[in-house]
Amino acid sequence: MELATKKIVLRYHWVFRIREGWGIFHQSLLGKIGLVLLLLFALMALCSYIPPRLDPMYDPMTGVDPKISHSTGPSMRHWLGTDFMGRDILSQLLAGARIAFMVGVSAAFMSIFLGTAIGMIAGYVGRIMDTLLMRLADMIMVMPTLLVVLILSSLFGQLNIWTIVLIIALFRWPGVSRVIRSQTLSLKQRPFIEAARVAGASHLRIIFRHIMPNVLPLSFLYMTFRVTSAIIIEAALAFLGFGDPGTVSWGMMLQWVWKTGHMFKAPYWLLPPGICISLITLSFYMLGRAMDEVLDPRLRREQEAG
């Protein structure tokens, strides 16, 4: 029972579980499509660093083609054309993928963190704490996130992208916390929690060692859905003109199309960000659905054998 063997076996356990999960995931067509799309978007985000290095005019924000002063269609020099002041649309699109990932993943991570922590506390502590936290969750849940962010940004002027992420996170935790709370409630009644109590484990130990590992898979499932909503909220905000003016997001691009009156004149400019927003949210959603099947055996398709 040396430590080395222990580590190997434990690693093997994780490998085994991931492989088992992958086997189920693999059967889901939705999941596979979603994963491939996401990998493509990740590749786009990585590639966003290339164009500005080739030539400063490809910088998505400040790079202007000196020869062009109005929007032009696709060409060898600008594969997707240029915007109204001669900035390259492809490099904007690539930078937009990076922003989308950043906003989506960080807002989702924060709201999952909050939701899981609050849900576990409400479910485990119960009584007055449960009531207070869940009524707070109800209040936040009925507030329309987009509207609140709009009001806030009109109050405080242009919002920084991280402020937007933070606000989205603060408004999107209640759904997660409700699910985590109910899961915690059912776990709390399970005899293995009572066994830990009889063994003398403290409340903190029970929460972190016995409840958290059992709710985390659920949290990560919800994370994929939260990514989707965060990306959509940020895009809507940017399109309405309340985005961070210092970043190039897809919503921002759409806003520029609309503001400069190119809506029906420049499909090469309008369509790419629109399609990208739809596809990235769709792919996160499909990934979430497939993971749902991995985590919840009741959703699994019946096996042919047996």
Binding site: M1, T5, K6, V9, L10, H13, R190, P191, F192, E194, A195, A196, R197, V198, A199, G200, A201, S202, R205, R209, H210, P213, N214
Partner: protein
């Protein structure tokens, strides 16, 4: 063991526990259900004490009260003379070291996310006993004693990789690893096959010898209790009906309910004239006063006037044999039980 009438290791005095059903928004709700009604027990050092009753009789509640998973409304529980219902903080932690529990359902009592090693070593970690190599040694010993050998084959497994019997052995190892002086075993074999149950019984017996521990064995089966226990208490609807040595309870049952339980056991072997008491009413009496003997609705030999009005208290009818009945029928049923007749589980 039972003969040594010195101070009991564990003493329950007039324990009362009720559960309240949740009041619904509009309905009256809030009904009280009495789980235990002034239960008093004494368990002596080194014995295996059996608590027998049907489902809903409150036998599990007794176990949960003893390990402080719940608190009684009334009454006192004393371990080695120390009141346990009021323990807090450090004193409660020390108490948890001394009293452990084995749960009924091994599929529910192990955390699916923890390996066998982590599960069994948890009590050691919680109580900060020994360093990591000493803990490994303790875990290894506990697993071997619980019948999982060589322990190296099991320590890294997870509950879903174990059979029901193996899981229960892990749960037993977890209860043993702190070397407790008192162990509550709550129907540890009700979810297992008969052959595995027998092995678990033997592990419990070995455990008593090795750890010098005292056991409360909770079961619905008189046969299992007879095999394992030194003394048996029979509980019905939260009331103790009969307490006595295991042999006495099986061979010389007095209370009509105990007799009914024995009647209900399947028998095999050379039984000859079957011993049959027939104390159970085919049809329950309705409209019974709340003050009546708890078994009155189902009791055939009951006295309609006396038993319907009052609740009998436990009386020592034979030495160390207590029965809660107004008119104990001391005459035993006809038919030779015989040494070759067995009660099955």
């Amino acid at each position: 063991m039972a003969e040594g009438r010195h101070n009991p290791l564990l003493e329950l005095r007039d324990i009362r526990k009720t559960y309240r059903t949740r009041r619904s928004l509009f309905g009256s709700g809030g009904r009280e259900v009495v789980a235990l009604n002034s239960v008093s027990l004494e368990i002596y050092h080194g014995e295996i004490f059996g608590l027998v009753g049907e489902s809903g009789s409150g036998k599990t509640t007794v176990g949960r009260l003893i390990v402080r998973l719940e608190d009684p409304e009334q009454g006192s529980i004393r371990l080695e003379g120390v009141e346990v219902t009021k323990l807090r903080g450090k004193a409660l932690r020390d108490f948890r070291r001394k009293v452990q529990m084995i749960f009924q359902d091994p599929y529910q009592s192990l955390n699916p996310q923890l390996s066998v090693f982590d599960t069994v070593s948890e009590p050691l970690t919680v109580h900060r006993i020994g360093n990591s190599s000493q803990r490994e040694e303790q875990v290894r010993k506990a697993l071997t004693a619980a019948g999982l050998s060589p322990p190296e084959d099991y320590v890294f497994r997870y509950p879903h990789q174990l059979s029901g019997g193996q899981r229960q052995r892990v749960a037993i190892a977890r209860a043993m690893v702190l070397k407790p002086s008192f162990i509550v075993a709550d129907e540890p074999t009700s979810m297992l096959d008969a052959s595995i149950s027998a092995q678990i019984f033997n592990i419990l017996i070995e455990m008593r010898e090795k750890l010098d521990a005292t056991l409360l064995f909770i079961t619905h089966s008189l046969a299992a209790a007879r095999y394992l226990c030194d003394r048996i208490a029979v509980i019905y609807k939260g009331n103790l009906m009969e307490i006595g040595s295991a042999d006495e309870i099986i061979q010389n049952p007095i209370h009509p309910y105990t007799r009914a339980l024995l009647d209900a056991l399947p028998r095999f072997g050379d039984c000859g004239e079957m011993k049959y008491y027939g104390t159970l009413l085919g049809r329950e009496r309705e409209y019974v006063e709340p003050s009546a003997c708890p078994f009155f609705p189902r009791c055939r030999p009951a006295d309609e006037t006396k038993c319907s009005r009052d609740k009998p208290l436990l009386k020592e009818i034979f030495p160390s044999h207590f029965v809660a009945c107004f008119e104990p029928d001391l005459k035993q049923a006809e038919g030779s039980g015989g040494d070759t007749c067995f009660y099955g589980t």
